[in-house]
């Protein structure tokens, strides 16, 4: 698998510039305020891109799995695994930042304003946890099969199911259910587009692209390390 050098540099530079911008502008710019959120509305630039990055990496992973099922080449299995690993990493960051954020902001929406829970069984939050668990099972499955070709094939088939389950779990059901997490009514399952002023979009969109770039970069590094690891194992088993 060879990625063009220009693309490799594109996402490195994208991550450095866009995320540095998102960090500085996300903290320093003055933004319109929304009731209940206070300054935590700036979390939009950091919490939400975690999920965008997870979706992109799961898409990379499932395409790699499809390619593996067509061509049965080990590099596609490797890419599927590493993209899913970094995807679960970003999903976990999205979930934990959400838990922390919700404790502060959802507490003020509760009838008893002193109530602040770490976990409220909000439908979107709970289904996002479910989606991450579906992906954890992917790694359990991988580690339970010794034979490499069999593992790769089983994992690829399971990955199709895992990726497909993301759609109802995090995109369709959240639209239909209410809950504390924003979103559902106007086009997006997880945030209110009408709440989002241009001041936010100037930082939000670069932040998303920046985190996507970082996700690709991390996946590439893990992919290369995994390949070297296999080469080394082959080498010691030969000698």
């Amino acid at each position: 698998m060879s990625i063009p050098v220009s693309l490799k540099w594109a996402y490195r530079i994208g991550a450095v510039l866009l995320l540095t911008y998102a960090l500085v502008a996300g903290l320093l710019s003055s933004l319109p305020r929304l009731e209940n959120l206070g300054q935590t509305s700036r979390n939009l630039f950091y919490h939400v891109p975690m999920w965008f990055t997870m979706y992109m990496l799961m898409a990379v992973s499932v395409v790699a799995s499809l390619m593996y099922l067509r061509k049965a080449r080990v590099e596609f299995d490797r890419l599927a695994k590493e993209a899913a690993t970094v995807g679960v990493f970003f999903g976990s960051l999205g979930l934990s930042t959400g838990i922390f954020w919700s404790r502060v902001t959802w507490g003020s929406l509760m009838p008893d304003s002193s109530f602040a829970a770490w976990w409220s069984w909000d439908p979107k939050q709970t289904l996002a946890l479910g989606a991450i668990l579906v992906y954890l099972a992917y790694f359990v499955l991988r580690s339970s099969v010794e034979d490499e070709a069999k593992r790769a094939r089983l994992a690829a088939v399971y990955n199709l199911f895992a990726a497909a389950s993301l759609v109802p779990l995090t995109l369709i059901i959240p639209r239909a259910l209410g809950g504390l997490h924003p979103g559902g009514a106007d086009g997006s399952p997880v945030f209110n587009n009408s709440d989002l002023s241009d001041e936010y979009r100037y930082i939000f969109y670069p932040a998303i692209i920046g985190f996507l770039c970082l996700g690709l970069w991390l996946t590439e590094l893990r992919y290369r390390a995994s390949k070297l690891n296999d080469l080394y194992l082959d080498h010691i088993s030969e000698s």
Binding site: M1, V16, L23, A25, S29, S30, Y202, L221, L228
Partner: protein, 67 residues
């Protein structure tokens, strides 16, 4: 202040209500940004070093020749 005026040059909405702003109430709030930047740049440095190290090992092992 330098950072913010630089940002204002390409981000038109930047600093419209400067006086109300959280980070301008006290100079010390910049410390927060600096700390976060140090951490972020540190992580980036680590990533680039890891990148270089992998390239070096790839070269030594001839990993690029095979798939």
């Amino acid at each position: 202040m330098m950072i913010s005026s630089w940002l204002a040059s390409f981000c038109p909405f930047f600093l419209q209500q400067e006086t109300q702003h959280l980070l301008f109430k006290s100079d010390k709030a910049y410390t927060l940004l600096i700390v976060m930047l140090i951490i972020w740049l540190g992580v980036l440095g680590l990533l680039f070093r890891l990148d270089r190290r992998l390239s070096k090992i790839e070269k030594q092992s001839g990993a690029n020749k095979s798939s």
